[in-house]
Each structure stands twice: as C-alpha cells, then as structure tokens.
C-alpha cells in the first residue's frame, strides 16, 4: 500500500477550481517531486494533503487511512510534516523554541532529545544559534530552521514547498544534499519545486502539474529525457 495516496482530488480557492482531479501516490522511502509553473497548483496540492484546504471531491489517504475527518492539527499526529513555502518560521521565537514547536504534539521526551541531536548534526549552524531569535537568521539559515522544525515532528512523510526559493545557488546545493540525507535516514519526501533541474536530480520519481492537472509522470530519469519537460521546465531546446 502506498504511504500517501491522493485520488482524484478537486480543490478550490474560493471560486477558483485549483485542482482538477489530481491523483498522485508516494511510496514509503521515496523522494517524489511535483514540478510545474507558477499557479499550476503545486502549493494547493500540499495544502490539501495537510488539511488546510479540504477537497470538495476525492480523497487523501495515508497508508490507506482517509485523512478527511481530521482537523489540521491532527494531521501532524499521523506523521505528515510540512516545510512551508517562504519558510514561515516563528520569527519572534528563538531557534530552540521553533524546533520545540515542531515537536509540539510529541510526548516521548527521549525521542525529542534524540531528534534535537539529529537536527543539530544535520544543521550545525542551528546549534550555534539556538538561543538566537529566529527572525535574525539569514534566509538560508531560516530554510534550515524550517526544515529542521519539520524533522522535529519525526514525520514519516515530509512535504517540502519550494525549499530553494530565494536562496543563493551554493545554498540550494546544500539544501538538496540535506534533503537526500534526510531521505536516506528513512523519511519519505514529497518535494514541490520550480527549480525542476535540481528537483529531478534528487528525486526518484516525478509528476508534472499544469493548471491543476497531472500531465506527465514517470521516473526522474524519464522526465529529464522527456522533450516536453526539457523544453518547458529545464530550458533545453
């Protein structure tokens, strides 16, 4: 059974029909990427998965369990964590408090302590700055913090929304390396990116989204070699 199964979902933003019968599956242990242009519905897809938007039709299920009856704050108990677009860290809380918020729903203190060690190994910069107010971090550090905060939930499925946005190329490289590292440690990842080039390098499989519909899917390799993808998303004529 797939870890995440989104089946024939129709979601609306007010009256705008943003997702028109979208279906994707993510298997345990995979990195799956969702690529597409601005306004294709990538963020809406993630927001629908984590319950911020309720689909009017279709279903989202995690390991066969329909997520529909759960409230937003309950979805994280099921093992889904989001790294939101634009990072959205709590800028007036300290780095440490931000990470602690990530583990808000957990009661296993030993596990939380372990995860603190784990994210501090992954992001030594955050350890140095753990008592600093998060709003004073640089853009790259804030992206690290947003990622680390999601890891603190010890998710089975991590949703990443445009992690490369607004970062210097060097930082983008390191963020994507970290994503692979997190995946190797056993977290399944659904990655939304405009930077299709990077996304298709780290992902195992991918979906191409256009105006709320999946127009193409396949292994990352196949998508990289697809002429349509090359032309529209990779800038190769």
């Amino acid at each position: 059974m797939a870890l995440l199964e989104v089946r024939d979902v129709h979601s609306y933003y007010g009256n705008i029909h943003a997702l028109k019968g979208l279906s994707i599956t993510v298997e345990e242990g995979e990195i799956v990427t969702l690529i597409g242009a601005n306004g294709a519905g990538k963020t809406t897809t993630l927001r629908t998965i984590c319950g911020v938007i309720k689909p009017r039709q279709g279903s989202v299920s995690l390991e066969g369990e329909n997520l529909e009856p759960f409230k937003i704050h309950e979805i994280v108990y099921k093992g889904v964590a989001l790294v939101p677009e634009g990072r959205r860290i709590f800028s007036r809380l300290t780095v440490y408090e931000n990470l602690d918020m990530g583990a808000y729903h957990r009661i296993d203190n030993d596990g939380i302590a372990e995860d603190f060690d784990r994210v501090f190994v992954l992001f030594p910069r955050l350890k140095e700055r753990r008592n600093q107010v998060a709003g004073t971090l640089s853009g790259g550090e804030q992206q690290m913090l947003a990622t680390a905060r999601a890891l603190m939930a010890h998710p089975r499925l991590m949703l990443l929304d445009e992690p490369s946005m607004g970062l210097a190329p060097v930082l983008v490289e390191s963020i994507f390396e970290t994503i692979q590292e997190i995946n190797r440690e056993g977290t399944t990842i659904l990655l939304v990116e405009q930077n299709a080039h990077m996304a298709l390098q780290v992902a195992h499989r991918g979906y191409v989204l256009q105006t709320g519909e999946i127009v193409l899917d396949g292994t990352a390799e196949a998508l990289r070699n697809n002429p349509m993808v090359q032309k529209s998303y990779l800038g190769i004529e």
């Binding site: 937003i72 704050h73 964590a81 959205r88 709590f90 809380l93 918020m101 990530g102 808000y104």
Partner: protein, 363 residues
C-alpha cells in the same frame, strides 16, 4: 534637476514623500507646543499652590497602586489583541463579574467571622476572595469567547468588535438586574486595613495599597513565566505569530485561544477584587471606566505587548494621580487627562511607547 521626468510615478512618489514629511513636521511641532503649554501650566500651578513633598509622594504611591490594578486588566486586553487582533471590549465586565464574586465570598467569610481576629484565617479568607473572583471571571471570559467570538472568527474584523460591545452591555445590564443599582460595599478584612507611617517623613502607606501592589506584581511575574517558559505559553506566542503554521505543528488553535482568554480573565478577576478593596464599592457599571482605562494603558504601552501593558498601566496610574494637582484642575478631570493621553499617544506614537513597528504583515 532637468533630467527628472515632469510626470510619472517617480514624481508622484517624490510628492508623496514631501507630503508625509510635511504632516510629520506639523505633528511634531504641534506636540512641542502642547508640551511647552503643559510645562508652563505645571510651573504656574506649582508656584501658586505649593503642595508639600509628602503630598506628591502620597499621590505617586496612590498612582502605582491604581496602576497595578489597571495592569491586571490591561494584560487581558493586550494578550487577546496579540492573538486575535481584536479588542475585547467586554473585558471590563469580566473584571466586574470577578469583583462581585469576590464581594459575595467576602460577605460570606465576614459572616463566618474569618476576616477578623486570627491573621491566618484572615489571610486565607483574602486568598479565597481572590480565588473566587478569578474563577468566576475565567468562566465569564471563556464563555464569552465560546459564545460571542469563536463563531465570528472568520468574519471581518469589525464584526467581533461589535459583538464585544454587545457582550459588554449584556453583562453590565445582567449585573444590574441581578445585583441591583445599589453599590455593594467591600468590607476590608482587618489584615489589610490601616497602614504604616514611614519614619518621620509624614508619608503614609495603606496596607491595602501595599497588598494590591505586591499582589499585582506577583501575578505579572507569574504571567510572564507562563508565557515565556511553559509549553502553552510558547504555543500562545506561536499562534500570535502564525495561526496556520502553528496548527500544522499540531497546536489546537481553539484550545490556545480559550487558554488566552482564561489567563487574561483570571488576571482581570483578581483585578476586580483589588479594585473592590481599593475603591470599596462595587456596582454593575464598575467595570466600564476601569476597563476603558486599562485599554488606554494597553495602547499607551503598545497593544499586543505584555511588558508594554504593565509599563503603560503603572504610568497611566501615576499620571492620573498626579495630573489634576499638577495642572491645578479638580480631581474629577482625571478621566479627561487619562483619555487625552490616549488621544495624544494615538497621534504621536500609534504603536505605543514600547510597541514595535509592525514590519511583517499582521492577521
């Protein structure tokens, strides 16, 4: 500057900057004129009627005590604003309900004879009175949130504000119906009646004053620890900053908001009891003016800012106590002075004295 285009967005922007500067200059000069007038008035009055220093000391102490009471109420305004960006105009009535609960408990304990004689029993009865005030206020505040505000959370901002004003009148006139128009007199337990003279200075501090001030400071420290150290406090701050992300972290927003109302109301309930001891009378509309004053204090310190509310309240209390004498006007004008301060703060420093400039978008 002939290289600049005669029309276009650049020119418009330049004109806009000039306009802002002009209005800014106008406001600042207006402020300076007012401050000069005030100083002149104070100097004239001080020459005509030289009050002894003891009088000023007494007024400052009085102001700090009143400021302590305001602070307990102002914190509720500021915390709710920090999280929901709405002014809970019924908060003064939450305080009044606590004051009445305290009154009836006090009456019961006086009849039982607990408030006289044994200092232990007397102290216990004071604690019970405060506890009763806090409990009733918490119930009122939480019910208010559940009934009058929660269903309107997604409505435009003006709607819950109107609901709050309605709730304020509802509580006031329910209290009128239940408790009647006659003032209820708080009878002070022996433990907090009387006072001490400080050495030979001629300055007299009342026990009630010391009790009120110390209790409010202790409660503010308690609140500060809850907000800064506890898990719920951290969730409160996270929700204040970004509700959606906080709920994605597993925070139940409804619970956090209810907790915020409970916390603010508990302080207001204690404030109601303190106000009863300070003012000695409790009426159905007792919460109204102190509620507005506490709101003024919260704005003065910077609404949404907890230390700001504490600072603003103490400052407002002192200004109110000193103002009439310093300006040589009758004490009845103290409310005029307090609300003039509100207007001046809103004109010159809309973010309040300790308020931060809101760079990130709010709500």
């Amino acid at each position: 500057m002939e290289t600049l285009p005669k029309k276009g967005p650049y020119r418009q922007a330049l004109a806009a900057i000039r306009r802002i500067n002009q209005s800014r200059i106008f406001i600042i000069s207006f402020g300076i004129v007012i401050i000069i007038l005030l100083i002149w008035r104070i100097v004239v009055v001080a020459r005509q009627t030289p009050f002894p220093p003891q009088y000023w000391a007494f007024q400052i102490i009085n102001g700090l005590v009143l400021g302590g009471v305001y602070a307990l109420v102002a914190l509720g305004y500021t915390m709710v604003y920090g999280i929901l960006f709405m002014i809970n105009f019924a908060h003064g009535e939450v305080m009044m309900m606590g004051g009445f609960a305290g009154f009836f408990t006090l009456q019961l304990l006086t009849t039982l004879g607990w408030t006289e004689g044994s200092p232990y029993l007397s102290a216990l009865s004071i604690l019970l009175v405060i506890a009763a005030g806090m409990i009733v206020s918490v119930l009122t505040g939480v019910a208010l949130e559940r009934i009058a505000y929660r269903p309107l959370r997604t409505a435009p901002r003006l709607v819950p504000l109107i609901s709050a004003i309605g709730a304020s009148f509802f509580l006031q006139y329910s209290a009128l119906r239940i408790f009647g128009v006659t003032p209820h007199n708080y009878r002070k337990p022996e433990l907090i009646s009387g006072g001490w003279a400080i050495g030979e200075t001629g300055i007299f501090v009342t026990r009630t004053g010391v009790f009120i001030f110390v209790t409010s400071i202790l409660m503010m420290i308690g609140l500060f620890l809850i907000v800064k150290r506890s898990k719920m406090g951290r969730a409160m701050r996270a929700v204040a900053e970004d509700k959606e992300i906080a709920s994605l972290m597993g925070v139940d927003i409804d619970k956090v908001i209810a907790f915020t109302f409970a916390l603010g109301s508990a302080l207001a309930g204690a404030g109601g009891v303190m106000f009863g001891f300070h003012n000695t009378v409790m009426r159905f509309n007792t919460g109204f003016i102190p509620g507005l004053k506490a709101f003024t204090a919260a704005v003065l310190g910077g609404i949404g800012n907890i230390p700001g509310a504490m600072f603003g309240s103490l400052l407002l209390g002192v200004i109110e106590a000193l103002g009439p004498s310093a300006l040589g006007v009758p004490t009845e004008y103290k409310d005029v002075i307090a609300f003039s301060i509100l207007v001046l703060v809103l004109i010159f420093r809309p973010t309040g004295l300790l308020g931060e400039v809101l760079t990130e978008k709010k709500a």
